[in-house]
Amino acid sequence: MLTPEERVELDEMRSHYPTVRAASVSVLKWLQKHRGYLSDESMRDAADYLGLPVAELDGLATFYNLLFRQPVGERVICLCDSISCWMCGSDRIRRHIENRLAIRMGETSADGRFTLVPVVCLGNCDHAPSMIVGDELFHDLTPEKVDQILGLEDTGSHGGDHD
């Protein structure tokens, strides 16, 4: 159920769009921002609010990389898996992150701090490999730089890069 306060804010956002369909992605993003991810309940709330079939909204939610239909960690690492980053060693970065956080691609670390997901080209190919963490874009990644970005410098000795 949407709270009256949530409704007020959504109404404001809705007013910027000519149709409910146009507003739907923004409504989903807003709900995700405030609720962490898009649960089935959030999807139904959005469908009720917009008056659209929930199946149609879920089509959007599952289409876009940056809309999460499952719980995610505090910081979501979106590592580019497109061709330029791959050529410049994104696999190595992926393995490094996976080992450091003891998770696989698509998983959340046990402490709930990080989730690692792939993302398509970020348009940052001249500085490959790239990733987004939270809202911030990082580029020219190296294992050391990744540790620094994720604040993992002091946990150094275990894990590490094995390739």
Binding site: D40, P53, V54, A55, E56, D58, G59, T62, F63
Partner: protein, 916 residues
């Protein structure tokens, strides 16, 4: 007419076709997936790629997606071009990367468009060695089986479900390699046309779950053309059987009627034919020790009949779900003045009035194809979705494509409401007044009489004005009424609206009418009866007074017709002899002295007249269950054996077409029914048409433990030109005799494109069936009839808890008599309920889903029963909705005012555990 050069040969093409259609229209072969004549082109699969050349000098050409390119005059293309052929082969190879190699265990195997297209493109070797993506399937309810791994992402399913049919709960999820077609969460698909996914899906993602339980490959199915019996629209079907059980029903293409589609009631209601409650052998209640076989039964009953006829105490009730032939022979036994057509009296009055109107007007009775393209439609007091499901799909097309302006007046919000410009929730009385008010407005009486206005909810007047204005401006308006409301006024209003449109437009309009009828032969039996027979009320009185003491009932459960079960039961008990012919155990059968098992439509041949007035022939698909026989044959034997005067002619009736000819000769309104299909002795090159496919396997295998000869003789069949065999005429017969759609290289239902003149258009040789009633050139009619309205009884007075109008709620699944006996449909039926507006519920002190003991008082009579309360905020506040056609509500027929008291609450039991 544009000329298109395809592989250096020039072909004529109809205007407005795309290249793919041009190719298929000319019966050339080109593979395709995502294009469908009714769903259009989206160009997503790229399988229909061809080379297109600028002109004669262009030797290079370029690959184009043929379904996206118009077939313009002078276009030059090549299908055979090696680059195009290689491209198409590659498309299939890409799709095959993820498609499982599970054809042997896939229900689609053998009639799979993907298999056909794979073969057509020549992709034969799989090079891909990697892992395939896999999905979790969903339980989509009792009708449809889901197997997502087989998906090739053509999007046909969502395009049909969402865009074409307006469904909301099937979606497409995720992206790229993970595209998933399904529901937001597991659960039954909500659309009552979901079964069409089975045919729309080019592979085995959506398959028929009822077929799955008794699966048979297409090539082993025995089939013949038939007509759906689960409403009055007369959709063409292809039921298919094997080893004595009906296995499935698929749609039989008819461009005038159902096109490619069927509703789920029609597609999945067939299983009653296989049911355990089928009557299998003649039975008598008399304890004379004689065996109840056909010979002794027929002889005994014939004796009873001749005696009763001599005494003048014989009468008969026919049936709107029995063929014209059966009704005709029954009527011959007892005579016109003693034959009741087997409709509830009010329904019979409605249908008779409708027929009178059609025979004396220039208004055309709409076919489903007509309804697809109307520009304004008015629905009066009908729930189109449940009363005539495919008419709902046709209206959906009118609203989507033809910009149809729709006014709905039904009890509550329904599936079509989202397309409606005006969606009014009125009781049948009000709907009739609404129609009358429109008539007044159309005729230039701007202010409808106060009596009319006052009885309609506030604000309705504007809706009257808008609807009337739209109807006046329309080119092809359609007025639809229903019979399930059991309200004459509704039809009367619909007729007058249509009439007013004719007379006020000076003939510039082509108004259409449609009356949704609940059963396959309602119109036919009413035409046969021509209003000559006694009403059910008079018949009951005659039984009560002893004037009738022997009654034959053919394929009819009188308890669905009478509205007073106690009185009916007493009357039937008073009869000396009650003879009932039917397929299933019914309340009427329970009281019968003689029960004679008769064949279902799929087990017999005959003629139905659909609600459009279209006479259509259906043919026997399989041998009848047990000892059941075709009704008309049983009745003919009784007619002959009871040695009725004039029954000598009946001696000659040895095949259905003899009876058809006799009834056509006897009834001028039905004289054309002999023309609709060839007779049973029709042969092509002296051969019958095989019901089994040429590839039928294992025809001798079933008994080969004991005997390897084909020792099971196929049943004798004088009624149809079909053979119970794979042998016979292998060419293409008349369209009314197409037992399947199959063509070399085209094993799936897409093969129908090989049978159409133009893809998506009429069949070669014309669509089967014949309209018996065409509009005359009559421009007058009952013009001055004015604003008749027919009201239901006055509000009762006295000590009252609450007074509500009881109205029938028609259910897609549950209201129709035979389909509700099919397990998959039974699973989809809501349990019996009382539907209330939330405010009404509050004032009665009941809550949703609570089960209550209720006492209904109608005219001094009290009825007590327990029902679950359901809530619908769109239902008028003064209405209590009860499900129509449920045994629980058989005591009540037409809308009426009743007192409703809550006498107690039923303890809610723990919800029953689902059977594993």
């Amino acid at each position: 007419m544009p000329k298109v050069t395809i592989d250096n040969k020039t072909y004529d093409v109809a205007e407005g076709r795309n290249l793919l259609e041009a190719i298929l229209d000319n019966k050339l072969e080109l593979p395709y997936f995502c294009w469908h004549p009714e769903l259009g082109s989206v160009g997503s699969c790229r399988l229909c790629a061809v080379k297109q050349y600028r002109d004669e000098d262009d030797k290079q050409g370029r690959l184009v997606t043929s379904c996206m390119m118009p077939a313009t005059d002078g276009a030059r293309i090549s299908i055979a071009d090696p680059e195009a052929a290689e491209f198409r082969r590659s498309v299939i190879e890409w799709l095959m990367i993820n498609h499982p190699h599970d054809c042997p265990v896939c229900d689609e195997g053998g009639e799979c468009h993907l298999q056909d297209m794979t073969v057509m493109t020549g992709h034969a070797h799989r090079r891909y060695r990697g892992r395939k993506r896999t999905f979790t399937n969903q339980n989509l309810g009792p009708f449809i089986h889901h197997e997502m791994n087989r998906c090739i992402q053509c999007y046909r399913c969502v395009r049909f479900y969402r865009e074409y049919a307006g469904g909301e709960d099937l979606g497409v999820f995720a992206s790229k390699n993970h595209v998933y077609f399904g529901r937001f969460e597991e659960g039954a698909l909500e659309l009552p046309f979901a079964g069409n996914l089975v045919e729309v899906c080019p592979t085995g993602v959506f398959t028929d779950k009822t077929l799955h339980r008794h699966f048979t490959r297409k090539w082993d199915l025995q089939s013949a053309p038939s007509i759906c019996t689960h409403c009055g629209l007369g959709c063409n079907t292809l039921p298919a059987s094997r080893y004595g059980t009906l296995r499935r029903v698929t749609s039989r293409y008819n461009s005038e009627v159902n096109g490619y589609w069927l509703c789920d009631r029609g597609r999945f209601g067939y299983e009653y034919v296989n049911g355990n409650d089928r009557l299998l052998a003649p039975a008598s209640r008399t304890d004379d020790g004689a065996p109840d076989d056909w010979e002794t039964s027929t002889a005994a009953i014939a004796g009873i009949l001749s005696e009763a006829r001599a005494n003048g105490t014989l009468a008969a009730v026919g049936s709107p779900r029995a063929s014209l032939e059966s009704n005709f022979v029954l009527r011959e036994i007892v005579g016109a003045e003693r034959f009741n057509p087997g409709l509830a009296d009010e329904e019979r009055r409605i249908v008779t009035r409708f027929l009178e109107f059609l025979e004396s007007t220039s208004v055309r009775c709409a076919s489903l194809r007509d309804a697809n393209s109307v520009d304004v439609a008015l629905v009066l007091g009908a729930d189109v979705t449940s009363e005539a499901p495919l008419l709902d799909l046709a209206m959906t097309q009118a609203c989507r494509n033809a910009g149809c302006r729709l006014t709905l007046t039904s009890l509550r919000r329904g599936r079509l409401s989202k397309f409606a410009a005006d969606d009014l929730h009125l009781d049948p009385d009000q709907a009739a007044r609404f129609g009358a008010a429109i008539v007044a407005t159309l005729r230039g009486t701007p202010e409808p009489p106060e009596a009319l206005r006052d009885s309609l909810p506030p604000g309705t007047h504007d809706r009257v004005r808008d609807t009337a204005a739209a109807l006046s401006a329309a080119r092809r308006p359609l007025v639809i009424a229903g019979t399930s409301a059991r309200h004459r006024g509704v039809l009367e209003a619909a007729i007058q609206v249509a009439q007013a449109l004719v007379s006020t437009s000076g003939g510039s309009k082509e108004p259409l009418v449609s009356l949704a009828l609940p059963e396959p032969n309602t119109l036919g039996v009413t035409m046969l009866d021509a209003g000559e027979g006694p009403s059910l009320e008079n018949l009951l009185s005659a039984i009560e007074s002893g004037k009738v003491s022997t009654l034959i009932v053919c394929e009819n459960d009188l308890f669905r017709r009478s509205g007073n079960p106690e009185r009916l039961a007493n009357a039937l008990a008073k009869l000396e002899t009650l003879i009932v012919l039917d397929q299933l155990e019914t309340s009427t059968v329970e009281g019968a002295d003689w029960t004679l098992p008769v064949a279902a439509a799929a087990e017999s041949s005959g003629t139905f007249v659909s609600s459009e007035g279209r006479a259509q022939r259906y043919f026997q698909v399989k041998a009848a269950a047990g000892e059941a026989r075709t009704s008309w044959r049983v009745l003919r034997d009784l007619l002959v054996d009871s040695q009725q005067e004039g029954s000598e002619a009946a001696l000659e009736w040895t095949a259905t077409h003899h009876v058809t000819a006799a009834l056509a000769a006897a009834h001028s309104s039905l004289r054309q029914v002999v023309e609709i299909a060839p007779p049973g002795d029709f042969r092509l090159l002296q051969q019958r048409i095989p019901r089994l496919s040429i590839r039928s396997s294992g025809r001798n295998a079933m008994p080969d433990m004991t005997d390897v000869r084909q020792h099971v003789q196929p049943p004798e069949d004088t009624d149809t030109p079909f053979a119970f065999s794979m042998e016979g005429y292998q060419g293409r017969g008349p369209t009314s005799l197409l037992p399947r759609y199959w063509s070399p290289g085209w094993n799936s239902s897409e093969a129908v494109n090989r049978f159409q003149i133009e893809v998506g258009g009429p069949l070669h040789g014309g669509d089967p069936g014949l309209r018996l009633i065409e509009p005359g050139d009559i421009r007058t009619g009952s013009d001055g009839a004015g604003l008749q309205t027919v009201s239901v009884a006055a509000v009762p007075t006295g000590k009252l808890e609450a007074v509500l109008m009881l109205c029938g709620i028609s259910e897609v699944f549950g209201s129709e008599e035979t389909s509700r006996r099919a397990p998959a449909v039974a699973e989809s039926m809501p349990p019996a309920y009382m539907l209330l507006n939330p405010d009404t519920a509050v004032s009665l002190g009941v809550v949703e889903d609570g089960r209550y003991d209720l006492r209904f008082g109608i005219d001094e009579e009290m009825r007590e029963l327990s029902l679950t309360v359901r809530i619908d905020e769109t239902l008028p506040i003064h209405v209590a909705g009860l499900p129509a056609g449920y045994p629980e509500t058989a005591w009540w027929q037409a809308p009426c005012w009743a007192t409703v008291e809550i006498t107690g609450q039923v303890e809610q039991r723990e919800p029953e555990k689902e059977q594993p």
